[in-house]
């Protein structure tokens, strides 16, 4: 069903078969982990899933060639996860009040998923808690403790927010079945509620913002009364690239 041909001009990859007979070991390696991961990401974005034959095809290489650079499909997925986590870390800023920091982190986290929607279902089934993520948690813990959260609550606060983000990322790729599949005879109020809400991407965005605001507001009530540095202003948006 897919068409992998893309009019390859001659000399595309600098090394090609010399005459007509197949080559074994090229002088310059055709592959490296970086090229594999980036191509895999592009492929997942376009096709929605990842198969070794398709990946090898996009890299103009035999499937078995990949196994000289990665241990298998699982490692490719792990590398994609690392790439994503790196993107999250780059965009999160922790030198600000805890509520703004958490909000910015959550948005960066979800935004990274939103840029590679196809990856969500590949990564959702496994946690993001790779060593890469540890330093992000470290900063989150420090921020929350400094803000006055009880030590035994801190991990729960972070984990719950992360669960919400991950669930929201899944919501992002969930096909919006309901909108007109709802029978206004049987479920009239649901139909009305759906009509009052935007469609497509903005639907998911709005639900995310509603939940994020509520979660942060709820976290604020966990703080002892003398710790309330930031007034509950209406959503101080923190812009960032």
């Amino acid at each position: 069903m897919r068409d992998d041909r893309r009019a390859a001009p001659c000399g595309d990859t600098a090394i090609a078969e010399q005459d007509g007979h197949p080559m074994a070991r090229p002088r310059t390696p055709l592959l490296d982990r970086q090229r594999i991961v980036h191509t895999a990401l592009r492929l997942v974005d376009e096709a929605g899933d990842l198969t070794i034959p398709a990946l090898a095809g996009a890299l103009k290489v035999s499937p078995s060639a990949l196994y000289h650079h990665v241990t298998g499909r699982a490692e490719i997925v792990a590398l994609m996860r690392a790439e994503l986590v790196r993107a999250i870390g780059e965009r999160s800023l922790w030198d600000r009040p805890w509520d703004e920091a958490l909000r910015g982190w959550a948005r960066a986290y979800r935004e990274a998923f939103a840029e590679h929607p196809g990856i969500i279902r590949l990564l959702a089934t496994a946690p993001l808690a790779e060593p890469f993520m540890h330093e992000v948690y470290e900063r989150a813990v420090a921020t929350l403790e400094a803000a006055g959260f009880a030590p035994e609550d801190v991990m729960g606060v972070i984990t719950a927010l992360e669960s919400f983000i991950l669930g929201s990322a899944l919501d992002l790729v969930a096909p919006a079945v309901m909108v007109d599949a709802v029978d206004r005879e049987v479920t009239p109020r649901l139909a009305a509620a759906l009509a009052a809400v935007p469609t497509g991407r903005r639907r998911a965005d709005q639900a995310f913002e509603v939940g994020l605001a509520a979660l942060i507001a709820g976290y604020r009530t966990l703080l002892p009364a003398d710790h309330a540095p930031v007034a509950a202003g209406p959503d101080p948006i923190s812009d960032q690239a």
Copy 2:
């Protein structure tokens, strides 16, 4: 790696091959959708994934036999989802204040997943928004509107809660990698925060309860001032079978 043999006593399924030669159409059907779904659920719980050969093996039937009752693997998954949704609906009670109702629904929802942990990764990638779910949404919308939530917020409130539940269900099956993988030299505060938290299932439970309480508390702030029927008492637990 798996051993599907289970010492079958003769006459196990009432209909077996008469002598030694294979049978074609048995007098009583060997299969029905109910048996298929329940066996699939058991299999997913035990093995963590679902394959047609394994399912056929557990049903003591040839793989191709399944296709006379079900259109394919996708429909089996859909039937499992319907089974799960039914369980959620049965345990949720909506004739109570909105916050208690939402809290009970969320717990029932997650509890249904927790009983079949293996199913989470099968269902997480697709929404639960099947027609079965519509009437649950209908009741949720009615409850929230009656409580005074703005019509344009209602779907967001429900969707965000559902995202949190789904993410928490995924957290439930996430292997607890971090606990001792954390380097207390590099990330000392994270290590300390983790030490202050329970391990195993209870870790996920606590994070879920922290997030659920915060979300509901945050939702309460969305209500106009004249709508606050329930005081913010400390977690009125709603027991249920």
